[in-house]
């Protein structure tokens, strides 16, 4: 089986200070000064794929893991780390524009790469990134490929030689489906999916091997209907005040405090639910 995991390296927005968000007269948030991380949902997808390979290995099945990102050379370090973790191939498509608000463009490039390569039967990626936050890329990729897509995926296993067992969150709880590939999986809040860490030895083995890089133009002709401009534009930023006033409940002991908490605050709130 050939699995492709698509990921994005993004600025760690938690590292932005409040003042960084409010830049007068600027139609973008300055994020280049904070460190970069793998988009957390993509990180989960990358780890789920490694777990899938571990599990398949236990069944004597071979899994080829591949990683793809659309980024500048700053992502090379991450791609090499992924190879050190067991990804056979880690590829970069050179980004020529800001991809954050152009999910159609990103999805079209991914779909073109997949069609061009023509070996993958399972595509995994995070459901959204904190930067673009549109949650459209996996769905659009599936649409461009005319493949089915499962969203909010939390686990995937090789079920038999030809099928996968996919666990996903749904409104009514957890749904487990057995699917035949090809399929796109949009990974959501997957438990225990922090990406494992490569050893120094494995990193050293990968350090001097080049990262396969392709120009975006190589795939552009395959996607003639790409929008030229982002479908969203940042016009203004306002602080949403979510601070809540804290109240210290006074009482003789824990039981009395709990009673006051329930009677004065929780009871009414629960009744409204």
């Amino acid at each position: 089986m050939n699995v492709l995991v698509c990921f994005k390296v993004v600025p760690d927005l938690d590292q932005l200070s409040g003042s960084d968000w409010l830049v007068d007269g600027c139609s973008r948030v300055e994020t280049r000064f904070v460190k970069k991380i793998i988009n957390p949902y993509d990180e989960s997808a990358l780890e789920l794929a490694l777990k899938l390979a571990d599990q398949a290995r236990g069944k004597a099945l071979t899994t080829n893991l591949n990683a793809l990102t659309i980024a500048d050379s700053g992502a090379n370090l991450t791609l090499k780390s992924l190879r050190a973790l067991g990804y056979q191939e880690a590829v970069r498509i050179e980004a020529d524009t800001e991809p954050d608000f152009t999910p159609e463009k990103v999805a079209a490039l991914i779909a073109a790469y997949i069609r061009n390569t023509n070996v993958f039967d399972l595509i995994m990626m995070g459901r959204q990134s904190g930067v673009g936050d549109n949650a459209k890329t996996p769905l659009l990729t599936a649409e461009f490929l005319q493949w089915p897509c499962i969203t909010q995926v939390t686990a995937v296993e090789k079920d038999s030689a030809g099928t996968y067992k996919v666990t996903a969150m749904a409104d009514e709880g957890t749904v487990i489906r057995v699917i035949e590939p090809p399929c796109v999986l949009a990974v959501g809040n997957a438990p225990s999916s922090t990406l494992r860490v490569p050893t120094l030895k494995a990193i050293k083995e990968q350090a001097d091997l080049p990262v396969k890089t392709y120009a975006a133009d190589k795939y552009r002709n395959a996607t003639p209907h790409l929008p030229l401009k982002p479908d969203a534009e940042l016009l203004n930023i306002e602080v949403v005040n979510r601070k809540r006033k804290g109240i210290i409940v006074e009482g003789a002991d824990a039981a009395e405090k709990a009673q006051i908490l329930y009677q004065s605050y929780l009871k009414g709130w629960l009744a409204e639910l």
Partner: protein
């Protein structure tokens, strides 16, 4: 004959009341370790003897009474406040120990802006004191990474140091007076004066005692005017640590006092700075204080660095973004715990100090040996973060994947051999094996090598102040 667990608990309740004594097994288990054994703890494995109880002291008299009882009944006492120790100092090394916790003694007793000093009980969180001081335009000048969690008593007991130490000094330079209780229940106060030449400086019997001699109940520290508007940050990338050490030395030798003077190697730096320092070392300074002094300090540093062409100045907004998120709060600790469980990857640190002529040799030897000798390493690097006229510190950072061993074997397979390399190479080169985390229980095998002939003084302190050996057995002083 020793008291039973039940008798110990009963005697403690008689002194402080049942509300102040905790005996729930899960809490006792968590209290039998500190961050040194967090891999075991995260996997629900507890290898240390279970303490008999945790006692939350409400005042100095509680502390005195509990210590008297322990001294008379030979009960091991583990003093504690913020529970952020990293070197095993809070481990309960013998059966039926009692954790004497001062975190409920958390009153800021007095802030004295005229005499520039603040007095706090031992359980005052440093962050709380700092926040109060900032409101009136002052600062403690003390900012360890644990600031959001650590409390004054523990900070003094472990000879803590903060990120602005090159200007403000370590905690030992800040403490002007103390109250401490010794094992026989004796309450001692050292008065708050600017200086005195009336014999040895007895503050240093207490500062850094790690709960092995006494229990610190109150601390008075210096405070300083807070002038962040004058701060000037400087950041550079460079190729070699050796060059960075030379620059740090020159800044100190020329008499400049930046508050921050830090040098990261590429491996340690990659975690923080990979978005601008692509496999380079990173050198960071912050000049602060009155405007003219800050400006003159920054200008002088720039002149010194300019003599080293391999240094390239970086936009200070990179440094500011990093610096704003340097400290660890409870959220970071919780996140780290989840990641360790999921990835089996754990990181620790070992901090040492040495003179300028030895520091690079220690750095290079330790890094090479760890890379070659310790299995499953995922990161080994380090940084210097506290410089002095005659030398600097090195803060080794080491991460590894725990592979093919039980949780309780992690220390013997990885952590302890790693520490052994760093400690032994440092002592061999004439440096100190502990810069600011304390000895705890896991560097005691080398304590006599650390002190040499002066161990006589250290040993005599224990005999004099804790003749029954009830204070934090196995900490600083090797267990019997």
């Amino acid at each position: 004959m020793s008291l039973t667990r039940e008798q110990i608990v009963s005697a403690l309740i008689n002194i402080v009341g049942a509300d102040q004594v905790v005996t729930e097994e899960e809490v006792l288990k968590e209290s039998s370790v500190d961050r040194f054994r967090r891999f075991e703890e995260l996997h629900g494995v507890y290898t240390q003897p279970l303490p008999a109880a945790i006692v939350y002291a409400r005042n100095t008299n509680d502390v005195s009474q509990v210590l008297k009882l322990a001294n008379e009944q030979n009960i091991n006492i583990v003093p504690r406040t913020g529970h952020t120790a990293t070197e095993g100092g809070l481990e309960t090394s013998v059966e039926n120990s009692v954790i004497l916790d001062g975190s409920a003694m958390n009153e800021i007793i007095q802030i004295d802006p005229y005499n520039l000093q603040a007095t706090c009980q031992c359980g005052t969180p440093l962050q709380a004191l700092e926040d109060r001081l900032r409101e009136i335009g002052f600062t403690t000048g003390h900012s360890p990474q644990s600031k959001p969690l650590a409390q004054l008593g523990g900070l003094v007991a472990t000879r803590s140091i903060g990120q602005f130490s090159t200007l403000y000094g370590g905690i030992e330079d800040m403490v002007v007076g103390l109250e401490a209780v010794f094992p026989n229940g004796e309450i001692t106060r050292i008065k708050n004066v600017p200086r005195r030449a009336a014999g040895p400086d007895i503050r240093h019997v207490i500062i850094g005692n790690e709960g092995a001699l006494c229990f610190i109940t109150e601390v008075t520290v210096k405070i300083f005017k807070f002038m962040p508007e004058n701060n000037i940050l400087l950041g550079y990338t460079l190729d070699k640590m050796k060059t960075g050490f030379e620059i740090l030395r020159e800044v100190m030798a020329e008499g400049y006092k930046p508050s921050v003077a830090r040098l990261y190697d590429p491996e340690d730096g990659a975690y923080h700075f990979s978005h601008f320092a692509d496999n380079k070392c990173v050198l960071i300074f912050m000049a602060e204080g009155p405007k003219a002094i800050a400006a003159a300090t920054a200008e002088a540093i720039e002149t010194i660095v300019a003599k080293h062409p391999e240094c390239i100045k970086v936009d200070t907004r990179y440094i500011k973004a990093w610096f704003d998120h340097l400290n660890w709060d409870a959220t970071d600790v919780a996140k780290e715990r989840a990641e360790i469980i999921e990835t089996k990857n754990i990181g620790n640190t070992t901090e040492i100090a040495a003179n300028w002529d030895k520091i690079n040799q220690i750095y290079e030897t330790c890094i090479e040996r760890i890379r070659n000798e310790i299995p499953d390493m995922t990161l080994v690097g380090g940084h210097s973060s506290h410089s002095y006229i005659n030398g600097t510190n090195l803060y080794f950072v080491h991460y590894y994947n725990v592979v093919d061993c039980k949780p309780e074997e992690e220390i013997t397979k990885y952590h302890w051999p790693l520490k052994k390399i760093i400690v032994e190479e440092t002592i061999k080169a004439g440096g100190s094996m502990c810069h600011h985390h304390g000895v705890g229980k896991h560097r005691t095998p080398w304590i006599k090598d650390e002190y040499g002939s002066s161990y006589y003084i250290l040993e005599t302190l224990k005999k004099a102040f804790d003749p029954e050996g009830i204070m934090n057995k196995g900490t600083i002083y090797p267990g019997r």
